[in-house]
Symmetry: C2
Subunit: 197 residues, 2 copies
DNA sequence: GTCTATAAAGGGATAGAC
DNA sequence: GTCTATCCCTTTATAGAC
């Protein structure tokens, strides 16, 4: 849907929003600068007043997403809580965040391969930091005997993949609401790490 | 790596193999017919002697993959076994198949969006059939009381996402071998459905 | 069945007017 | 900051010689 000049107060942010949606839907390579400009309602060349290249636009989206994700996660997970509490908080946060920001999440997950090496070197550590947080929760729970995981790194990646997958099928207005879905994933995650609630 | 005329006995199959690898690595939109032809060692126009279009080539890969996947799964999972046995068989099969045919699996997972509607109508039902098999295992186990799942459909999709994710990080020669990884996923899947082994 | 050549369209990015 | 116009390259696909 094109946006008229009158309704657009900040072209740069509008470009981010439309590019995010289009990249998530069709993939970075499947979207042209003309597609993005057309969606926003400007000419393709005007994008270059805001971003120096298509690649920079992708990096801008992915890097800022990762920082927002990490900030929100650290707010949601209490670092001095028990492993069971932290896993519950992490899982609930993760699923709900996926559903709220599904385009950002899908983009960051899918388009790492479209990043040039320099850009990848920025995004990958942020991704690892997120994964490490979950792994350490599992390790702490295993140490104290409440969790039973054969390999914390493998299970952490498995849980992340499981929970991230919610964006593939969930639609508002379907059989289940967001809260119910989040609860199901939290329960499944706790069971998966062998917690006998 | 280009293939010389002498070593190539079946251009069509060689094209499939190279296209599969390239599509999985860079995405359908990120690979040109010239890339594929160059990889095989022929001119781009020669591809059209074997496939009428790039889209037909993608559909050929995805559809044949889904049929092979379903056939192999039905051979691996004994339909008259107990739910615990069937889940064990399914999970072990799934993880090992992902690792053996990771390009095919990744392609089928990622490039559904690149399929035109007619092609999608062929592939989606095959995908649903696979997912339904796992869901029915969970439902049978829940009925007999050995599994405890809040929602069999959600948990089935969650387990598939979890196990499919193995292709993202696993590399031969790393800290863990395929058998160990498969065992970890099988154990995690059984715990996730609340089985008290 | 593969080649060279080419058509017709679309890609990212830039120049310069306003 | 956006526009029109354009550059230069790549894209999928086809035509016709061999």
């Amino acid at each position: 849907m094109a946006v008229t000049q009158a309704t657009r107060t900040n072209t740069k942010e509008t470009l981010r929003n439309h590019a995010r949606r289009l990249f998530a839907e069709r993939g970075y390579e499947g979207v042209s600068m003309r597609d993005i400009a057309g969606s926003v309602g400007i000419q393709q060349s005007a994008i270059y007043n805001h971003f120096p290249s298509k690649q920079h636009l992708l990096v801008d989206l992915m890097e800022s997403h990762m920082h927002r994700l990490l900030d929100a996660m650290y707010r949601a997970v209490e670092s001095d809580a028990t492993p069971v509490e932290r896993l519950t908080q992490f899982a609930r946060f993760h699923v709900k965040y996926q559903l709220e920001e599904s385009d950002d999440v899908f983009l960051a997950y899918m388009e790492l391969r479209s990043l040039e090496p320099d850009s990848k070197a920025i995004v990958i550590p942020l991704r690892n930091e997120y994964e490490r947080t979950l792994r350490e929760i599992l390790e702490d729970g295993a140490k104290s005997g409440v969790f039973h995981v054969a390999d914390a790194a493998v299970v952490a990646r498995g849980l992340l993949a499981m929970m991230t997958g919610v964006t593939v099928w969930f639609r508002d207005g379907g059989r289940l609401d967001r809260e119910t879905v989040a609860n199901t994933y939290v329960t499944t995650a706790l069971q998966a790490v062998g917690y006998k609630g």
